[in-house]
Symmetry: C2
Subunit: 550 residues, 2 copies
């Protein structure tokens, strides 16, 4: 394309849930939107989290103007501790997000070296060629925003994560007026949340959950224990309101819930009349129908209060007859089974359990199809890129856009790393940048080989074959030893392993070779042993030959 173009480069969050990150580039300047992490899927064994690949940003470090954060959820902020040390650029975030990011950076000893700026709806930032504004959206955390970014080529609107809740708990609705005004003025590009593009109709208002909470607090004969996301301040507010209304005091239990509640109270995002929040030591002495507990654990996190309750091993909170436990969240994809087990166990312990499938105790924070259509209708963008969601969500969102008359040529279903270039009157994907998965565990990055090995180990275990070779003669000494883990019950497999030892010894005896040749022994043992075990057991454990010279 001849003249200066606007580049849109998703670095994460397309074709997957979480890990949201995107670069906008014009005239050599790069603006980054969000910096999220993703919780690993089940096949990423032992990986703690996944962050975007920022090779492109690292290679163009001096051209990056800053990072804009739309809201405080970890799938939009969680990679900052890994990215900031490499980029060292200012971060612009709404106040609550800024608070949550501060906590996280402090944990990583990065707070002092970071530049964090608070921005609010209505604020304007001039960053190189970009004029950036923030607008209010409703979502499942307060202070969520969308972005209006004026570029020399036209206006870019980024929806952030949003729903159109007309009765949100904090009264802060998505700013439809501004969006309509922008639409009339003309919008070049809309980047819009696709997470719930599968779901027809409208997402119900957060208020409907408040009505359920009210009924539960009124009717429960014993304690009410509500688990939700620590960051879901509106939900916490509704639980507190309902508890207070029905004469229950609120006990906040669990580290992250306590931290979030305290910060939200301090910053004024949460309101609790004096005396509502009680100290946990009073839990034992209070009448049961005067107790409401707020805690975490809705995703079946093993160390959470809820899961420890479900196993009867929380020091303070054990299920007692008459308890009502409310699981006020739905499982993130991949967590279904562990959440189901937690609910089963709470029932077994004797609680009455209310959860999304049987009671209206949760609504989503993302807009459904009618809301996505409303946004498209108001903004009337020239080009549209569905963001946030797995590949099918992006496709369905693009198909929705088509039904509203947006030409399929103007809708781009991108993959991470694609470079969409928008010029005067044309737009096309013109290239790709690096966009691998970056896996993080306690040690730092985890490579693909490590993951492949873990997968192999998890399926059939490992067999270590210890082969001793005489340094001088090059022949093996004695019978090889076999040690297995995760392969088969030792007692049952003893005969089999004995046979295998003989097999290896025989295989190595025949060649008359010099067995200090490590790679030969390695391959031979792996092949012989692998084939033997597969024939006999239909299993393929990892085989690790260890050759010792004596």
């Amino acid at each position: 394309m001849s003249t200066e173009t606007l580049k849109v480069i998703p670095l994460g969050g397309l074709g997957e849930i979480g890990k949201n990150m995107m670069a906008l580039e014009y005239g050599g300047h790069i603006l980054v939107i969000d910096c999220g992490l993703m919780f690993p899927q089940e096949e990423m064994l032992g990986v703690d989290l996944v962050i975007p690949d920022i090779t492109y940003l690292r290679d163009n470090r001096e051209r990056v103007l800053g990072i804009l954060i739309t809201h405080g959820h970890e799938d939009h902020t969680g990679a900052l501790p890994y990215v900031l040390p490499e980029l060292k650029v200012p971060v612009y975030a709404p106040p609550l997000a800024r608070g949550l990011i501060s906590l996280k950076l402090k944990e990583h000893n990065l707070l002092r070296s970071a530049t964090l700026e608070s921005v609010r709806p209505g604020d304007e930032l001039a960053l190189g060629p970009f004029q950036v504004g923030f607008f209010q959206v409703s979502h499942s955390i307060p202070d969520a925003t969308g972005l209006v970014i004026d570029t020399p080529l036209g206006t870019v609107v980024h929806s952030g994560d949003f729903k159109l809740d007309h009765t949100p708990v904090d009264g802060k609705t998505t700013d439809l007026g501004l969006l309509a005004q922008l639409g009339r003025r003309g919008v070049l590009l809309l980047l819009s949340d696709s997470t719930y593009a599968e779901v027809p109709g409208y997402t119900p208002s957060e208020k409907t959950v408040g009505e359920t909470m009210d009924r539960i607090m009124a009717e429960a004969e014993g304690r009410v224990i509500v688990a939700t996301f620590a960051s879901h301040i509106s939900r916490v507010q509704q639980v507190m309101d309902a508890a207070g209304k029905h004469g229950r005091r609120v006990y906040v239990v669990g580290r992250s819930m306590i931290e979030n509640v305290n910060m939200a109270l301090e910053l004024g995002y949460l309101e609790a009349p004096p005396g509502l929040i009680a100290k946990v030591d009073e839990l034992r002495s209070s009448p049961l129908n005067r107790i409401a507990v707020i805690t975490t654990g809705t995703q079946g996190e093993p160390t959470s209060v809820l899961v420890r309750m479900a196993h009867g091993d929380h020091r303070l909170l054990k299920v007692i007859p008459g308890d009502t436990v409310v699981v006020s969240a739905s499982p993130i994809p991949g967590n279904e089974q562990v959440v189901n087990r937690t609910i089963n166990n709470l029932f077994k312990e004797g609680a009455q359990v209310l959860y999304g499938r049987v009671a209206n105790v949760h609504v989503h924070g993302h807009g459904s199809q009618e809301e996505l259509k409303m946004l498209l209708s108001l903004v009337k963008p020239r080009y549209m890129v569905p963001v946030h969601g797995e590949y099918r969500h992006l496709m369905l969102h693009a198909q929705l856009a088509k039904t509203l008359g947006i030409s399929p040529d103007h809708t781009f279903v991108l993959e991470n790393g694609d470079v969409l270039e928008i010029g005067e009157g044309e737009a096309a994907v013109t290239g790709r940048v690096n966009s691998d998965y970056v896996y993080v565990d306690g040690l730092g990055d985890v490579g693909n080989i490590v993951l492949r090995d873990r997968k192999h180990l998890s399926r059939d275990g490992i067999l270590v074959a210890i082969i001793v070779v005489d340094k001088r003669t090059g022949h093996i000494v004695g019978r090889p030893d076999l040690v297995s883990r995760g392969f088969a019950d030792i007692d049952e497999a003893q005969g089999l392993l004995d046979e295998a030892r003989d097999l290896i010894a025989k295989g190595l005896d025949q060649g008359g070779k010099h067995y200090a040749e490590w790679s030969f022994v390695n391959t031979k043992v792996k092949n012989d042993l692998g084939q033997f075990l597969y024939e006999r057991t239909k299993r393929r454990p990892m085989i690790l030959p260890i050759v010792m010279e004596v």
Copy 2:
């Protein structure tokens, strides 16, 4: 209890999905109902399937009269190849189930030694003190039945897997007339399907899927490829009917789908007018809008046709523009992510994909709350045991029963292995029999230690420490070697492992002990190395010290 009692002993299928099996016992005679397997949950690494623990039946082999099979699904029949060789008793099953069981036993070379009897609704069997009748129920496989078992103490009704479909594809509705009649006569005990006890209202009729299929076959401009369960003959019938109506010929692809379709055609459960079913070689030469394909793969099975299509590596079927792929099933719990990935990949390959969340292409085979209530109201049992489902389903079903006036004292939420004893005028859980999980993989049983090891290995990998000890002095020779798999990238971790080697050497040098004492070295290395690695990496790989004497 003084007089002769009826014992109800669930051996599987309570508190979990699948693996259904139950024993009824009276006067020393044991009758077994169903003999299912369960597909492993994700934490059961490398396990192929799970079957009921039949220790109790094995110990009382000579008292077992036979096994009654309610219908042909694997969660009710799949353990027969593992159980029959031990029990050698006759199996009574409806004709289609009998056919499917025959196929399975043939694979295991067990067909000739097995006694398989066909039974139909209306048939009566006298087995010891039990008078057994079968009645028709509608479910997601033809020939599904419930059981009426007259015992000296009263009548037991077992619902099998059922829904109340008033317009099933094969016209075979659940026999409400008989159930009402039994209810009027008096029923001692109802054992009833709880799988969908979470879901309010009624499960829609299978016919509604037919309407969707009709519309898809009419409107799709290219090929229509439908994936469903091979055993879901009614669904296959509806796909065939819709295809035929709109001038499409039907191509059956994939081994298990071909086997099931052929058997259903032979036994008369499936009707296809001559010429409807086409040979797959004609697939390439036929106009695209004259093609309907039926296949499997709805659960993301890696070797299935659908998954291979999704990866573009099926020999015969590759996605071509204009293809509509219908995923006509919902994911079994635990399969959500792999099914989602398959759908994502089919979209990426260019197909339009229709699945449960976006189109009415699937309904369940189990009754929802109103149907469960209807059964309870008709049968009016004295005692009730919810069966089939995870623990929360059983609890919710019991709570439903309470709303219908069945006393909670008369409702028993059992766990596998519980012995419920029913006498004249009283009932109570009076004991327990063995009911462990029995894991099966290629090798046979897999024990808990093996599973625990696999889990450990899958999380942080393994570190093998090779320590050479001088036989005479008892001191270590040289520096220990470390070999790791699935722990960390070798290059990155080299420095760390070097330090670790020094640490082990130093730790073992200090004691002045005789290190041929294997258990000491073992513990010392595990502790030192484990602590060092955890401090430095926050990871806990499995540590396997290998001590060699030279």
